[in-house]
Symmetry: none
Subunit: 228 residues, 2 copies
DNA sequence: TTATTCTGTTAAAATTCGTTAAACGGACGG
DNA sequence: CCGTCCGTTTAACGAATTTTAACAGAATAA
């Protein structure tokens, strides 16, 4: 999946920084603009998946900014943030084509979920989009078909093998933490599931042994690192 | 554009009637159910573009209802209505895949705008409204006639074959969970029905074997995924 | 060093799934 | 009413997948 990039326009630097670091922690590439004019400048230069706009800003208010943004990209999802809870304001927001409207104070969790709800809709059919594939050294890994191919030999992976290899690929050349993998694939990171994961690491190592430049490295006490 | 149809589940008859007449005035075909169980019954019989669900209802609460609805149509937009403003509740709502979440009291205008914001996003997608026909690789599947066609050869499917294939199509390229399929088609997800479903999967695999790009993948311990 | 925790590997056990065929039961025509 | 057909369920067995167990070896901290 492509990385999600967010344009955040917020003149309150405290809140702005807070939001930016929170969103970045959630793996959203976030760029912060401190007023409407700057936001517009940045928007013209870069590509974004979604806009998060404060309504009350110096230079250019959120609604005006939204309209200008929409002249460039008429379909980009826009969420307004505002301190006011005025009915007229909310209506005005949706008239400019808002996809959502959040009144301060809101919880970070709710923001994240609303962002995800919108992205789910707008990037939908991502499932029809070309199958996710990884190149692992001389191997090719087709995630959706769970197929690991070396030259002309294909091996059909089981569900667990495939899930684990995909996680390793997503973190390739960096550490995939044990707990993360366990919680993500096995849901629960207890002793037995950890043993089970060991077994799968052994299997994957065997499958990947034909290319000596590919290696699943153990980082003691941390996790594994797929080198390729 | 097709007419927009809304399933409204609201146990407060006053509010329910008010919403229904307001939405109908805005040219949305609206059907009102007075509890979760009735809503589910109606949903199974008719096609809807969007669901508007009260959270607190007798018989079946909104979240449970939403989950059941999503087992049948995993992509239909859902908006929750609630009197509570609890953070936990909002989060729970989005976790079940809500597209929006409105806290009473809200203005009719805001509701309309939120509905339109969601429809704007979701009708961009091609096969959104429950299709009567699916294209599965080189196959064509006519749901109402229960006819599976490959080039010039048509095969009349039995009821169960057809129901299962339709569910797979609605979830195509994503996992259709075993117990969800069982509860939706066989009503009860006991051991024997599960065996029965296996038999039908085998049959469908045979029927679909002429296009090698089409595949019913088993996700061990979870369910099946129709790749096409 | 020594004890302890963590990892690697193999095999057996448990669970889940795939396939074929036979049994069941309702609908239909005679 | 009786047999036949058709869709569905049940049964039986084998295969695939995942988990558990057992033991050996490595890495680390005290």
């Amino acid at each position: 999946m492509n990385k999600v990039s967010i344009l955040l326009a917020e003149d309150d630097t405290n809140l702005g920084q807070l939001l930016k670091s929170y969103l970045s922690a959630k793996e959203y590439d976030t760029i912060l603009a401190i007023d409407g004019a700057e936001a517009m400048k940045i928007f013209k230069k870069e590509k974004f998946s979604l806009c998060l706009l404060d309504v009350m800003m110096p230079e250019m208010d959120g609604f005006t900014l939204a309209r200008e943004i929409r002249t460039i990209d008429p379909h980009i999802p826009i969420i307004f943030l505002t301190a006011k809870n005025l009915k007229e304001d909310v209506i005005e927001g949706f008239k400019t084509g808002a996809d959502d409207y959040l009144t301060k104070p809101f919880s970070m969790e709710e923001l994240i979920y609303r962002i995800e709800a919108i992205l789910r809709r707008s990037t939908k059919r991502a499932a029809d989009v070309p199958a996710a594939e990884y190149t692992i050294g001389k191997y090719n890994f087709d995630v959706t078909r769970q197929l690991l191919t070396y030259r002309d030999q294909s091996r059909k992976l089981t569900t667990k093998e495939s899930e684990l290899l995909e996680l390793l690929c997503r973190h390739r050349n960096e550490v995939l933490e044990r707990n993360l993998a366990l919680k993500s694939i096995w849901i629960d990171d207890n002793y037995f599931n950890a043993r089970s994961m060991d077994v799968y690491i052994t299997k994957l190592r065997k499958y990947l042994s034909k290319d000596e430049n590919v290696e699943i490295l153990n980082i003691h006490g941390k996790g594994y690192k797929l080198l390729c």
